[in-house]
Point group: D2
Chain length 370, copies 4
């Protein structure tokens, strides 16, 4: 980006002195995260926006980062890639947003100009992708800098609900794009979702856009299965006895399912997917995998299946926004806990013990005057 000669004259209130600070959740290596003072972000590029965060949430990926699973995340990084907020400053290259606009922050940063963005693969944007709370500072803070703001923010709709809208930052497009769209869910289909965590439940909610006839939800945890029932699953299968695949094959009279969505990320759950996909069916992988899996091509080579992988592109955010606003989807169903942002350490604890706490999504709110 050739911006060296740019004299930034950003719109918005008087530029902050460099000494202005804020609170943020900072990663300090495996197992260490602190709610601490950090300098407030400032505009760096013409396409940047500075957003004051009003609502955020924690993602399962944040827990992976805390464990040290993601080498790209280094000491000092502010975590978080989901959020709602209000724009405080915009660079001169931003045309679609103005100071004072209330916005939904996408977990994926998109320049819209590169070859990948042109093809709708924002996740592989040559100037962005998933960088927020990963290779640049994120949203679990009072303020965040959003690069490529025109491609990475969405206008908060009038009449929208903040808790519902923050689900559009990541979890709903992830479930929908990686699971439902890639799985080609069709009216009348029999589908299975392996994993009833927040992402699997997002798949469950958004799969119903296409009216499948039967939805099998597979998980080890009875509580999560019970939630899935409330969310529209038609058959619950507890896989703790190792017979989940057999059970699906019995229920489908040996045919298997039209679509199976992997929403866990382990070899064992991927094995279930392979065992239950019908001839002509689809395996849509959503889970983040840390190891190779065994693919039984000796059984599948003549089964006419497709297997897809995808990092969420967030290209369907405008579509999802319309569906949420129409009332056909209530994403707030996913919210189980609420915390003030400065109580985020306790929020992480709750979310980190999701099974015990019955936690799905936890809402973080920056309350009161800043």
């Amino acid at each position: 980006m050739t911006t060296t000669e740019l004299k930034l004259a950003p719109t918005g209130p008087a530029t902050l002195s460099s000494s202005a600070t804020m609170k943020a959740l900072v990663y300090h290596g495996p197992g260490k995260h602190v709610w601490e003072d950090r300098p407030r972000p400032t505009l760096q590029d013409p396409g940047d926006a500075i957003v004051r965060i009003t609502t955020s949430t924690i993602c399962g990926t944040d827990l992976h980062i805390l464990k040290g699973d993601l080498a790209a995340v280094t000491d000092g990084r502010i975590l978080g890639h989901e959020g709602i907020g209000v724009i405080e400053h915009v660079g001169p290259g931003v045309s679609e947003f103005h100071v004072g606009n209330r916005v939904i922050i996408s977990c994926v940063t998109a320049c819209l100009k590169c070859d990948f963005c042109r093809r709708g693969m924002y996740s592989h944007c040559r100037h962005g992708g998933w960088i927020l709370g990963n290779t640049i500072d994120g949203t679990q803070a009072e303020y965040v800098r959003i690069p490529q703001a025109d491609g990475s923010l969405y206008h908060f709709p009038s009449g929208g609900d903040e808790e519902a809208m923050v689900m559009l930052s990541d979890i709903l497009p992830t479930g929908f794009e990686c699971g439902v769209l890639n799985g080609h869910v069709k009216p009348g289909d029999t589908i299975a979702i392996v994993g009833a965590g927040p992402v699997g439940l997002a798949v469950l909610l958004t799969a119903q856009f296409y009216s499948p006839a039967a939805i099998f939800m597979i998980d080890l945890d009875e509580k999560r299965l019970a939630v899935a029932k409330q969310f529209g699953a038609t058959t619950l299968i507890n896989s703790s006895d190792g017979r989940a695949a057999d059970r699906v094959m019995e229920l489908t009279e040996g045919a298997g399912v039209d679509v199976v969505v992997e929403a866990v990320g382990l070899p064992a759950t991927f094995a279930i997917c392979q065992a239950i996909v019908a001839a002509g069916g689809h395996i849509a992988n959503v889970g983040v995998h840390g190891k190779p899996v065994e693919l039984h091509l000796e059984k599948l080579w003549d089964r006419n299946i497709s297997l897809t992988t995808r990092l969420v592109d967030t290209v369907t955010t405008p579509m999802l926004l319309k569906v949420v606003l129409s009332g056909k989807l209530q994403p707030t169903k996913l919210v189980t806990h609420r915390f003030a942002m400065n109580d985020i350490m306790r929020a992480y604890e709750t979310f980190g013990n999701a099974e015990k706490e019955g936690a799905l999504k936890v809402i973080l709110t920056n309350g009161g005057p800043q």
Copy 2:
């Protein structure tokens, strides 16, 4: 665009004094166009680029403008929406192009940010679309200002040929997107193209990407049909006897054609399309129509056809670029005449008498030092 506070410090050579002039082809109302002095364009918005034109061409649409058919084009407008050139200046919001880059100018201006651009409908861009040589000054000049440069320019490939590449500005994507893609041309298809002018020939060239088995070319002009033969048409049909549709039905044993592309824009040619489309087939309209047509729904309602319209989006330009570079498509076949840019009045005369002159595309070159 909120750029009022932007202090432009554009990259590139010292900004031109406002008195710098250039030559351009200027429209002065129906029937009047003059090659005359005009001020050189300067940057107006952060996303602008100023391009020095090296090659341009004339489009059939330019002739329509000259006749006064397009009310949006007003006195004083520089015409032209096709061109190759070199960037002289870029605004601070341009990230993909730099001063000195050689570029292909797209006839469609795309912000890439609006809802239409996000859906790949650049033609309906809320900040652009077809504006060049229409509602803003165009490319039949020594210099042109290109707004939304990141979405409206393409890098000229090393090893590319300027005469070939200028066909990517408009005519090739128009033929390909509006005719071939919308017509769903498939291997083995029997297709018909109504109109063997430059656009119809562009359809003919790009339809062959998909290996149709038979291509019927329909036109009144034997010379153009002869060209079509050289370009790959398998059957030529001269429609001057009013029996073109009958002829197609005979040749297809009453079945009609899988795809028919309308590349003229008249009720009579559209009538041929309706008469020859097979059950289950496609009518892809490319022609610019000035009047309503009669649609025979009383015959077509149960024929399972599709009819499409489209203003070129130029979303396939990168794909077309690859195919041209691979040697599978030789767009220079379309070039019949070459002129120096300052001889453009004569070029218009030749192009305006296309039938007599045997003209398809005429190349305009800004030669020598500026």
Copy 3:
């Protein structure tokens, strides 16, 4: 079909003597139809099945036939192309059905072997298509002969409801295939349906498989609009003031709708469709048209729209069956009146005065022992 040498030894009870009779609704020219004695049908081809009708219904097309609008229907024809029944006899070429099977009769006869059937265009089957109650005797009778039985019947599902299943003969696949699939209805879309008769309502019901955000229903009749409201329409527009198109454009802030379905078949309703389709949108024609319409290509040529026509293919019947069985669609909502089959003359009267009677679909039942 080369069956001359075939000695038919049909399965099923002893073949009927040629003197066996039945009651049937017979067309005797415009305005004349009689419930009268007719010979029972017998097997004629190896692929035939004889079905004893238990439930049938009347289609708007039957009213057109009665008016004399369909020249192909000649004096003496038994009407009706919808029905549920039980197989009494099958020819030796039938492999998928047996005597005693309860079946759904498709309005379209499909050989499955010809080029059109192979492409899923059963409506244009070279040995079938819509022939039942048209060019061969139909289902408004006690018995019917179904040619190409393997392609034209569907197994009645255990647990199915007869009144629901008879809607799969024609009206549901018609609404779904011609309106919803051809219209490419997507989650979050704003769609409009012009015409709230039975077919328009079938579009309305099946469009909801894809979770559109807004559904505008346009009709002249307040009672039908009220029904549409109950069926899921989000906005009702009474077009009697001639301002329906204006109203849609106001409601969509000038954008128009993503999908508009024409479910009437008149130039005036088709004109509404053209006026309200958004750039990039779809017009899906379902209505049966008797006259040409004016297509405003002078306005639409650059709007990137698609317009489709289709005679129902019934290829989606298996999919629809699954959705109905899953409980996501209640087609019995369409049933407003019920008659014994031998009271069919009165049923026609009611259906023929649909507006006054508030009639949508009328169910005909062959009751008691045959």
Copy 4:
């Protein structure tokens, strides 16, 4: 099939006495195959046809059978699933073919009626699929019985060439459907084909229907690579040094290829595919695999790729036929050797030593009076 009561009165010459014999290539367990006398086949079901074979060929799968790799193939089976011939007898359920018709035999038997056939998945037909020369007797003989003849035969086109047409039995649709269609080859794409055997070459030939810009052919054998060059490959990569993947990544500047087709069936070749597929790309598996492979989901989970498997459905045979007849594809390029059918033992030897003999497809002809 309930045909017990059917009195077959087949069309055609007087039924053969049961003592009529023919010559056939019979499998007698691993490593043993003999050209020996066998009874001529007779009609068994109403949908059967008996075809006198004029031309056949040998498939790589036949070699697998000879090795004993396919447990389903038992002692006494006549091999072969490809062929051209003339119909001698047809059952009464056959409507599309008559005695004396010259036909192309599809390797896949399709009833056209079951749920899989309705979806175009003939390979999984509930009454057929790949059974010829597998679970029923095949085409390497003087006569063959073809069940479900209407779905399993295609009319030999007038003007067709027998050697070209026999490639439509299996190898061309296999390459096209499993490799090219599943791989979504598009104009301008960079594609790679791993394996330059007959199937890989069929992929190479049919991929060119879609005008990819670059085709990398990867194989261990220089002779096959040289053939690939003649067939249209743009880059040859000899993988014998284990650096094929590195080479592809260098050539694509680290991007990888849009489509990679696996046409071998080994873990090592599948590993190459995974290593070179671009983000957003497709791996289309064609190879027959005998063992599981390692799938690197830890690298691929966020790469937005698709992986497909498919047993050829032969649904594209009509399309391929049109393309061959149009002259755009010369499948006889694949023919390297020709034998009389009764010299088939020698043909197997040649084909079994393909590398040494430079063999691709070997043609077998039943010549002279039978």
